[in-house]
């Protein structure tokens, strides 16, 4: 990075001379910032691959019958799309990229607690990704089970399930190690004076997320491993022909995979809680409520997994218990939404691109969450489960929730990470196009689902044709938006004007270090004397200054 010269009197982390040169300086680095950036590159790449597959799927759905591929190909594509998006994009997602880059800085630390372990989890992540890609080219061909690996189909299909499971297992390991690292970091590395309730809310959400990663991931790890063992050795575990119970597999899978949706959304909620105060330029409304609701979501999130199984043949008692808890888990999310809205009240709002993203998020996520309630209610879920209604719900929360905020975070912290400013106007245009395409694409799915279009269907009945075409057009609108967005960021990266230390006027610690930050983040570990969004002090200082000016004038 030639133009990252020495700025004034410090050397940023890009230019710091380590023991290694070139690529090695990156892939052998234990610096949390470099690891974060390596994740960023890897994740964005996988996102683009997954999104391209999604667009191909939409293209297939443009007409009835065969458009560009056969059913087997389509089945493999949605499986890969789901696996890539879930395990390689949204689950590592925000913690791996922005957690790594910013958590230590926001806590006032020089690095995470276990820097080498951190690099190891990056290698696991890449290793898992490579295995996933490799599995496509092995004997059996690309996996076609859907991302849920339901038995007994996953035991019967001839495709390469075991390799993909190995990949998922490795990725799980990566996720666990990251979580472990972050919990330890938060317990041990906070700057002096930073009590639990002086942590930025992003750190809180990472903390809650890390616990879910730690406690839930092993269960899916072992469950998937058992499926692979059963495939390889014929051990009787889940196969009904050998006495196994397919529904037990579903329990085991969702025990992890429901909490996993909170692994995806909690960090996004944390980022939202950072962006809103910064651009509203005031303290967050209900700090403690937001912090504690993260823990509440993590906790209650364990007891609702059965809502994915309402029509699976689970006992009726279990169905209503899980339904009840599903409604309870929505409450902490509601608390957050209300507190965010209230934070805008009497703020001094600067509607920059990151905030626009966040407003879009609140709207879209609320739709996703509220339709989650429809799915959580027993009677309606029986009708809607395994239809496009579910597909719509989870694209709203996963893509509109985590996906949008991933890119919002990129816009928010871009100046800090790269020391450059992007064009705000262009970014806002891109966001508007994306939201428009998003609604065209996914809102249509709600209607399709309600009218009885099942998911994972290669083909459809004539009455669904119009809506499918409309959705496909929506996906093209979305591509346009994303291309504009990426182009804008890329241009800024190359040619953008230099960013100052604190372009948005944020209060958390990352805005007190230069952009990009120096190798060790802080020259001196800061001592924390107030909460993370303490705009009071700033305001008071301003007032004092003005008073002083006044009195100075008076004296004249």
């Amino acid at each position: 990075m030639a133009d990252h010269a020495i700025h004034g009197n410090y050397v940023d982390f890009y230019d710091e001379q380590g023991p290694h040169k070139g690529v090695l300086a990156w892939i052998l680095s234990t610096d949390h910032k470099r690891i974060g950036l390596m994740y960023l590159i890897a994740l964005t790449t996988f996102f683009c691959i997954g999104a391209t597959i999604g667009v191909l799927m939409r293209l297939e759905m443009l007409t009835q019958g065969r458009t560009i591929m056969g059913p087997q190909t389509y089945n493999s594509l949605f499986t890969l799309h789901g696996l890539i998006m879930i395990f390689l994009f949204v689950i590592p997602g925000i913690p791996a990229v922005f957690g790594n880059f910013f958590l230590p800085i926001m806590l006032g630390a020089k690095d995470v607690a276990f820097p080498r372990l951190n690099l190891l989890s990056w290698y696991f992540y890449i290793g898992g990704g490579i295995f996933a890609i490799l599995s496509l080219f092995l004997a059996g061909g690309p996996i076609d089970t859907g991302w849920t690996f339901y038995v007994p189909y996953s035991l019967r299909t001839g495709t390469d399930v075991s390799w993909m499971i190995l990949a998922a297992f490795i990725l799980g390991f990566s996720s666990i190690l990251t979580g472990l690292n972050f919990i330890t970091t938060i317990h041990r590395m906070r700057a002096p004076g930073m009590g639990w309730f002086r942590m930025p809310l992003f750190a809180w959400s990472i903390y809650a997320t890390a616990w879910i990663q730690l406690i839930a991931t092993p269960i899916v790890g072992i469950t998937l491993a058992l499926v692979a063992i059963e495939r390889l050795f014929g051990v009787g575990l889940f196969d009904p022909a050998l006495g196994g119970d397919p529904i037990l597999y579903q329990h085991m899978f969702w025990i992890y995979s429901h909490p996993a949706v909170y692994i995806m959304i909690l960090p996004a909620m944390g980022v939202v809680s950072e962006i809103i105060p910064t651009f509203a330029h005031r303290t967050i409304f209900g700090y403690k409520a937001i912090a504690v609701s993260s823990l509440a979501i993590a906790f209650v999130g364990y007891f609702v997994w059965g809502h994915h199984m309402f029509s699976s043949g689970m006992s009726d008692t279990a169905r209503w218990i899980f339904s009840l808890f599903t409604f309870l888990v929505a409450i902490p999310s509601a608390v957050k939404v209300f507190n965010w809205t209230a934070t805008l009240y009497k703020g001094s709002i600067d509607l920059k691109a990151p905030l626009l993203f966040v407003l879009a998020f609140i709207f879209v996520f609320s739709i996703g969450g509220l339709t989650g309630l429809i799915l959580g209610a027993l009677a309606t879920d029986i009708h809607l489960t395994d239809t496009y209604f579910v597909v719509a719900h989870f694209h709203f929360v996963v893509f509109g929730g985590t996906g949008f905020i991933f890119f919002a975070a990129l816009h928010y912290w871009f100046p800090k990470m790269f020391g450059k400013l992007y064009n705000d106007r262009v970014a806002k245009v891109a966001i508007s196009i994306i939201v428009l395409g998003f609604m065209m694409l996914y809102f249509t799915f709600f209607i399709l689902g309600y009218e009885g279009m099942p998911r994972r269907y290669y083909d459809y009945l004539p009455q669904y044709h119009g809506l499918h075409v409309f959705a496909t057009v929506g996906s093209w609108v979305m591509i346009t938006g994303f291309i504009v967005m990426f182009a804008n960021l890329f241009y800024a990266f190359k040619k953008g004007p230099r960013a100052g230390m604190n372009p948005w006027g944020g209060m958390t610690l990352e805005w007190t270090v230069p952009s990009p930050p120096p190798q060790e983040n802080f020259e001196e570990i800061p001592v924390i004397t107030h909460g993370p969004y303490d705009y009071h002090a700033q305001e008071e200082a301003k007032e004092k200054q003005e008073e002083f000016n006044h009195s100075a004038e008076d004296e004249k």
Partner: protein
């Protein structure tokens, strides 16, 4: 207060707790006794509670290992909280899964 309990900033400054050999040996003897008991009891049929007895004995053994061998008793509270979180989660997961099978 919760935040103070969870915080782990200063307690490690106290000197390390060294457990005597004799304590360990006593615990070991107790563990052997429990093992003998559980094998002996397995021979007798208590009907439905046979399994329960075996599990209670196993839990007693595990808690001895946790508390003494693994020093949970002498260590900082965070570790107790951590282990508590894991065990409670596991327990809850068992209860909710059985809520399906028992009412089938």
């Amino acid at each position: 207060m919760a935040d103070n309990k969870l915080h782990t900033g200063s307690s490690e400054t106290s000197a390390p707790h060294i457990v005597n050999y004799s304590t360990y040996v006593l615990v070991w003897l107790a563990l052997l006794a429990f093992t003998a008991a559980t094998v002996a009891v397995a021979g007798i049929n208590f009907g439905g509670i046979t399994l329960l007895i075996a599990l209670i004995i196993a839990a007693a053994k595990a808690s001895l290992v946790l508390n003494i061998f693994m020093h949970i008793r002498f260590d900082d509270v965070v570790f107790k909280v951590f282990v508590g979180i894991a065990i409670m989660t596991l327990l809850a997961v068992f209860i909710f899964t059985f809520a399906d099978y028992i009412f089938r």
